[in-house]
């Protein structure tokens, strides 16, 4: 286990540097001069441009710039935006919003998705099973921005059940966007749970348990369910990070000031440091959650032995 853990931790290194470098290089290549973009109709004086370029290391070649950025990162310094805001301050402001949205979406996904998947899997071929299959296919097929608009129009505007946009009404404002954000993952989770449970219910060990007279409750609860949930836990672990990274469309539709919106505005305004900072934070969330899932795996599935 210790050796596996060490190897798994080592694997993080190339992933972290690879992903952050790719994003840094892409932002670096965005056409246009970010310093010129700061000024309006009247161009900045040459000395100011010079000072700013020097401050943001813009005249260094790409690898040097990247190295300086990473060095700052390890000191906990996310750098400054070209307009002089601390990127870490922006992260502190925006991330909690997206995390709240992501967690609520995740909760909806886990509760409803697992429940629907379990009910469908236990009664394979029943009406409920078909209902779950058809409705999840629909949810996956409808693009999330269409789903967002429809939810906004129907639940928000027509029936007035939930706040339509913005965050002024506290946590209730998160409900509708979280439902939309979590819907696709919910559908995947439900289908995965169903398939996994159906497969496990046919396994030999389930037949054995039934044959020795164990009540069905215990067969399902103690044997089938535990094993079926292993792939689901993997999916959910990876999905938590994906929900936050994918919140951008939902945040746009529901006018929620999270990181997605911030990235979007920052790309337009050529605020490279903000973009790289946010994506780096998301990459770290992803790396951490997959690591957690991999370790969890060893405890959940005794068949997996790491040597």
């Amino acid at each position: 286990m210790a050796r596996y853990l060490a190897r798994r931790l080592l694997q993080i290194i190339p992933v972290f540097f690879g992903a952050t470098f790719l994003i840094y290089a892409a932002v670096y290549s965005i056409p246009g001069d970010p310093i010129r973009a700061l000024a309006g109709d009247r161009p900045l004086p040459a000395s100011t441009i010079e000072a700013l370029r020097d401050e943001f290391n813009l005249d260094d070649p790409l690898p040097v710039q990247y190295a300086k950025y990473i060095a700052g990162l390890f000191r906990g310094d996310f750098g400054q935006s070209f307009r002089g805001r601390e990127v870490s301050e922006i992260l502190r402001q925006r991330f909690p919003v997206t995390i709240r949205l992501g967690l609520l979406a995740f909760a909806i996904e886990v509760v409803i998705g697992l429940l629907a998947g379990l009910l469908a899997g236990l009664r394979r071929g029943s009406f409920l099973d078909n209902l779950v299959l058809v409705s999840t296919t629909f949810v996956i097929s409808i693009p999330i921005f269409v789903l967002g608009f429809v939810a906004q129009l129907v639940l928000g505007v027509r029936f007035g059940l939930l706040p339509v946009a913005g965050l002024r009404e506290g946590w209730v404002s998160y409900v509708l966007p979280a439902m939309v954000l979590g819907s696709v993952s919910l559908a995947y989770a439900a289908r995965l749970t169903r398939t996994s449970l159906v497969e496990n219910l046919r396994a030999d060990y389930v037949r054995t348990a039934t044959a020795k007279g164990m009540p069905r409750r215990r067969v399902v609860g103690r044997h089938a369910l535990r094993n079926s949930l292993i792939p689901v836990v993997t999916f959910l672990g990876v999905d938590l990070g994906a929900l936050m990274g994918g919140a951008i469309i939902t945040e746009g539709i529901f006018n929620i000031p999270g990181i997605g919106r911030e990235v979007f505005v920052a790309v337009r305004g050529q605020e490279g440091t903000i973009v790289v900072g946010i994506v780096t934070a998301l990459v770290m969330i992803f790396i951490f959650s997959t690591l957690l899932v991999d370790i969890l795996y060893a405890f959940l599935d005794p068949r997996i032995r790491y040597e």
């Binding site: 296919t137 097929s141 693009p143 921005f145 746009g252 599935d301």
Partner: protein
């Protein structure tokens, strides 16, 4: 590639001395779980399930699947719908005699009416014509992205799964890097590098984000297939690596990847629409369902038809691909029978 898919492993080809005996039964132990160590259990189930289904020489995986598919109403429906979409994409002129560029501002946001069943957009263009021409963009992007990504995935997945070692490690880490970047945010950043964004730029970015998943799937599928006796037998008879991969491993290992790729065509089409909706995908004057929804997003309350029609066509297309993939999976996976 299509030759390999159609290659019937149960029918010995001419001049294939070891084909007959070795390829007798379809081997269905490759599952996406192979990587996670679950394959032991799945293997026995899979072999047991197929063992009984083998009847004579015509019972290959793909001919069995085809028989099963023809009887599946979901497959027939989704295949017909996709056929219609492909025809619309290939020859939009068959479905409308108007030009999508023939617009009259006097008709701006006109409601659906006789002769113009979908109404007009903000520029006064016939919305039905626009929706029809939008099919071409979506189908092209979907097929192009998945085709290229699939090709990359098959080649790299075979290398990683069959040879293992350093190449495997290298490819696994490369895939990890792309996994770690949130797809939409990454796509936004990369797409903003291009001054002009057309079909090819958007397709390129989508390929970049979709190949790693397929590569992993292909790798684990190859891993599950290469340890079986008929591969050893082929090697003992002196078959080259390329031959073993092409004739023995690929036809048996490709099924899960084909299923995933079919579904991915739908997901890619939705992704293009999402990127165009965000304003970082295709640019006007391109005609795309996502772009149409993007342009009209501020008028949806007053003019719902601007959202309804492109969204409907988009959803139906994505839905058909997912349904087709589901039907394929049911037919190709004997475990679920």
């Amino acid at each position: 590639m299509s030759k390999d898919i159609k290659a019937d492993p149960a029918v010995p080809a001419d001049g294939d001395p070891y084909g007959e005996r070795i390829d007798e039964q379809p081997h269905r132990d490759a599952t996406p779980h192979a990587e996670s160590g679950l394959s032991e259990g799945a293997e026995s189930v899979g072999t047991a399930a197929t063992g009984g289904a083998v009847s004579g020489r015509s019972a290959s995986l793909w001919s069995d699947a085809w028989k099963e598919l023809r009887r599946n109403p979901l497959f027939v429906i989704s295949a017909l719908m996709l056929l219609l979409m492909v025809v619309i994409a290939a020859a939009p002129g068959l479905f409308t005699n108007q030009s999508p560029r023939a617009c009259n501002l006097a008709n701006t946001v006109g409601r659906p009416q006789a002769g113009h069943p979908f109404g007009f957009d903000i520029q006064g263009c016939d919305y039905y014509t626009l929706v029809v021409y939008g099919a071409r963009t979506s189908i092209t992007i979907g097929v192009l992205v998945v085709g290229v990504a699939l090709l990359i995935a098959i080649v790299l997945g075979c290398i990683a799964g069959f040879y293992g070692g350093f190449a495997d490690t290298l490819l696994a880490r490369a895939a990890d890097v792309w996994f770690a970047i949130p797809a939409i945010l990454g796509a936004i950043v990369i797409l903003s590098v291009f001054n002009q964004r057309g079909l090819f730029q958007v397709a390129f970015v989508l390929i970049v984000f979709y190949w790693p998943v397929m590569m992993r799937l292909m790798r684990s599928s190859v891993l599950g297939t290469k340890e079986v006796e008929y591969v050893d037998a082929a090697r003992a008879l002196g078959a080259s690596d390329v031959r073993i991969l092409r004739r023995h491993i690929l036809p048996n290992a490709i099924a899960p990847v084909i299923v995933y790729a079919t579904i991915t065509v739908g997901i890619v089409i939705a992704s293009e629409a999402a990127l165009s909706f965000l304003g970082v995908g295709l640019q006007l004057p391109a005609i795309s369902w996502g772009l149409m929804i993007s342009v009209s997003q501020n008028r949806i309350l007053q003019d719902p038809h601007l959202l309804l029609f492109p969204a409907l066509f988009l959803s139906i297309t994505v839905f058909s691909f997912i349904l087709l993939g589901d039907a394929l999976r049911d037919a190709l996976d004997p475990k679920l029978r």
